[in-house]
């Protein structure tokens, strides 16, 4: 085969980026969404230098930088649109650097549907400032009024004069703090923002060009694999390291306490050696998970911290009746198609890590503590991975690669976890219990609302100021323990995300029962607690509607005061053609051997971001309890839509993923570890079970852009749940709604 087609491409381009230093001690996480304050975007106040956002140089290059990273959500296309709009430059002319600790702003973690709202606003203001500055250069040179000048694709134009950005950039320094008062273009003048600009990364993906971290092949690269203990609490007693070094293809074996990894010349040799080491080593088991109890029993009974975090004044009217329900959801996985991967290389005591983690800066901090080296000696460069949907193994594998590469200085080591390793060792989405209690007046109106949630942590990401949230650090001879987990505070919350009702009800109370001890390690799964809290609340609301004898849409409208939620609710129902009817508890809607029903879900993500309503129609097979989703319809409003097709891709994708979570997905474990380790034991939705979806977007150019990447998960789950209630007249309290659980409800 010709050498030209098989060259090790792509790597040089990634290494080629310069190394302007920028180190800011700063942290943002899922739970701490930053509001744009009057004194300018929070991201700009934390990262004030212009050259962290945009660089226009006399050689004609225009480089745009973002601390946000591409996760498959299309954010870099949207950022390119925002920058191109403010600069008046064709989007494809911009060079883009994302998520590099040596180059870009520290924007914490790309998570929580915050990229456009916060990072996009900061980038837009920086680019607007750059454009205005260059315009002033031309205006001064020509003795003209800057307001009379215009820009076409990076060329400043007056009636009979022209000056390129490159020329103007030669006459002024843009290496300075951004002017926080710079004004972005009015919406009426936008030509690129608001259009469905095609994703810039898709062509490379359909032609097999180097895009993914898994495709990086630097010269002389070696392959690493980790020999994992047989359980989370197990520790290594003994291993014949000399024997392990003699296994086929093995270059080096690294043992540090209970951390054992192997470096080999070929990928399959590394994986095979790791498997054999696991078998040959002697391990000591730890205590059984959950003390042998079920997880819901554990959540409700093991010690937890109880805090009431939200209350509103009680109603004047007395409740005529009280309704109480408990809902449960088991552990759920990110289940990425491609397992986590990282490359690491040590040179002269300095470490470079290529990673698809969501937060290059937070990862750098935890790597430095886990490896006991100064943060300044570590550079983390983001390269795309398989979709992650939250905190999966992406961060952990970076430490694995660094620990192995330290044994072979000057050589790059790639570690690509196996899918089983990802499913067993990644942080899972927490199992949760929610209890809801409402007071209802004689006419069915809600008079109080209490939401109690029992949960493990939803964010144990890297990014703290002490300890190390990278798994292998806990297994070292001299371990670096994880910091104590914290729950994210309201308004956005973590375990209590979306536990504050979107409905106008007096006497609200939200109480968390937070577990910091994690027999199964948990962290951020797309929406954190938001999906399950909002699904439980919307299931509960439909039961209240049924008790009130009202249809679910009318009952929602009765309790809604937010016109944006009203608008998406009406639009989704209208799009679906559904004629809502009151549910009669205990009475199924029979069509042949099936029960057929329709339901709706409604959510304002984090109580602050996108407004999404979803309608679902389901058929329940009576003999088996199997639920089939016949169709789903949605309406979304998230303020100004930067890229409408990108939003619809996220909304529809979230609906499909939520259908999978809601109907199919549940982790199981034995005394040592999670055992749902492949797509057979932990199946996800396939093509033939994916329902037809019709989604509409309500653009509000008059309002700021809101986070949308996680907006449809909860209303999609709630719509399916409520369609099952409508079809069966029965309450099914535990997600996923497996045939066994639905059948039990039908027989109950």
């Amino acid at each position: 085969m010709g050498a030209a087609t098989l060259s090790r491409r792509g790597f040089a381009a990634i290494l080629g980026a310069g190394a302007a230093g920028l180190a800011i001690g700063f942290r943002l996480d899922d739970a701490a969404a930053q509001q744009a304050a009057p004194q300018g975007p929070a991201m700009l106040r934390a990262n004030p230098r212009m050259e962290s956002w945009v660089r226009i140089t006399p050689d004609g290059r225009i480089t745009v930088l973002t601390g946000r990273v591409e996760l498959g959500q299309g954010v870099l296309t949207a950022m390119r649109q925002i920058a191109a709009e403010e600069l008046d430059v064709a989007p494809e002319r911009l060079d883009l650097i994302a998520g590099d600790t040596a180059e870009t702003a520290n924007e914490g973690v790309t998570a929580g549907s915050q990229s456009i709202r916060f990072g996009g606003e900061a980038l837009g203001v920086a680019c607007a400032d750059a454009r205005a500055t260059l315009l002033r250069v031309a205006a001064d040179a020509w003795g003209a009024d800057a307001a009379t000048l215009r820009v076409e694709d990076g060329v400043i134009l007056a009636a009979n004069r022209r000056m390129t950005y490159a020329e103007a950039a030669g006459r002024v320094s843009l290496a300075r703090p951004v002017d926080l008062t710079a004004r972005r273009k009015p919406v009426a003048q936008q030509r690129i923002v608001g259009t469905s600009h095609p994703r810039t990364d898709i062509p490379a993906k359909v032609f097999g060009q180097q895009v993914f971290i898994h495709d990086m092949r630097p010269e002389g690269m070696l392959f690493g694999a980790i020999a994992r203990p047989p359980g989370y609490a197990a520790r290594l007693v003994s291993l014949d390291v000399a024997w392990a070094r003699s296994l086929p293809g093995v270059v080096e074996v690294v043992r540090d306490g209970s951390f054992v990894g192997v470096i080999a010349r070929r990928e399959e040799q590394a994986n095979d050696a790791a498997r054999r080491i696991v078998q040959a080593a002697t391990w000591r088991d730890g205590a059984p998970l959950f003390g042998g109890r079920g997880v819901f029993e554990h959540l409700l009974n093991a010690p937890s911290t109880t805090r009431t975090i939200h209350t509103t004044p009680a109603a004047e009217a007395q409740a005529a009746r009280t309704h109480r329900v408990e809902y449960r959801r088991g552990f759920q996985a990110h289940a990425s198609i491609g397992a986590s991967c990282a490359l690491a290389k040590w040179e002269d005591g300095r470490l470079t890590v290529w990673s698809h983690a969501q937060g290059p800066f937070p990862l750098r901090g935890d790597l430095s503590r886990g490896l006991r080296v100064p943060a300044e000696s570590v550079r983390v460069i983001h390269v795309q991975g398989s979709g992650c949907y939250g905190h999966n193994g992406a961060d952990d594998v970076a430490l694995d690669a660094a620990l192995l590469a330290r044994a072979v200085p000057g050589r790059t080591v790639r570690v690509h976890w196996t899918h089983e390793e990802e499913m067993v060792w990644e942080p899972w989405g927490s199992a949760m219990v929610v209890r809801l209690e409402a007071g209802m007046s004689a006419d069915g109106g809600l008079t109080s609302w209490a939401h109690d949630v029992w949960s493990f942590p939803h964010s144990t990401r890297p990014g703290g100021t002490s300890g190390c949230n990278l798994r292998s650090a806990w297994y070292l001879e001299n371990p670096v323990p994880a910091p104590a987990p914290v729950d994210g505070p309201l308004p956005n919350g973590a375990s209590a995300r979306n536990a504050v009702p979107i409905y106008a009800v007096p006497g609200q109370r939200v109480t968390t029962h937070f577990h910091t001890d994690m027999p199964v390690r948990t962290s951020a799964l797309r929406t954190l607690g938001g999906y399950f809290n909002a699904v439980a609340a919307d299931m509960f609301l439909d039961e209240c509607a049924a008790l009130a004898g009202q249809d679910p849409v009318a009952y929602r409208l009765r309790h809604l005061r937010d016109p944006r939620l009203v608008a998406v609710l009406r639009r989704a129902v209208e799009t679906s053609g559904w004629q809502p009817r009151a549910v009669t508890l205990g009475r199924p809607r029979v069509e042949g051997t099936q029960l057929v029903g329709t339901g709706v879900g409604l959510s304002k993500y984090k109580n602050s971001d996108s407004h999404v309503a979803v309608v679902a129609r389901v058929a329940v097979d009576v003999p088996t309890g199997q639920v089939r989703v016949l169709g789903m319809w949605s309406a979304t409003e998230a303020g100004r839509a930067v890229n409408p097709d990108g939003i619809l891709n996220q909304i529809d994708g979230g609906i499909v993923q939520a259908a999978s979570w809601t109907l199919m997905e549940e982790g199981r474990w034995d005394s040592r570890r999670m055992t749902t380790e492949d797509f057979a034991s932990y199946p996800i939705i396939d093509f033939s079970h994916t329902p037809p979806i019709r989604s509409v977007l309500i653009d509000r150019p008059d309002l700021p852009s809101l986070g949308v990447g996680e907006g449809s998960q909860a209303p999609a789950g709630a719509a399916i749940a409520n369609a099952i209630l409508d079809a069966t007249g029965r309450h099914v309290p535990e997600i996923p709604f497996t045939p066994e659980r639905v059948l039990a409800a039908l027989r109950g």
Partner: protein, 155 residues
Amino acid sequence: MVRLTVNGRTADADADPSTPLIYVLRNDLALNGPKLGCARGQCGACTVLVDGRPVRSCATRLGDAAAPHVVTTLEGLGTPDRPHPLQAAFIAEQAAQCGYCTSGMIMQAAALLAERREGLTEAQVAEALDHNLCRCGTQPRVVRAVLRAARQQGV
């Protein structure tokens, strides 16, 4: 040494014939198309064509794909200058999010379209792709892209 014919070229791989084909394609031949997913033949990300038939390259032994068998990966299907109708259709429909499963989807669909194009229904596409998993939830767009490609000439 095992001799392979991949994308119309010949290559010799210095690996045991029992080695899963995926590792040779990706690591020895530096092909990015086939993606390593579950390594258990369950997700379809590693799908390539052997003599025009879709196979899971994680579950195919190198020796079983050796010449005179003919292996085709995403790179062999088309190029930016001469895209296969499926590649053009995936771009036109923006049928990806992270794109990790995309190569396997396209290869599986290429085998389907080689068999039949006329009168192809959504349900038939879904059935043909049922063992190709997508975690981002782009299934509806992928189906639209395959149907769009089926309407094009030159498959």
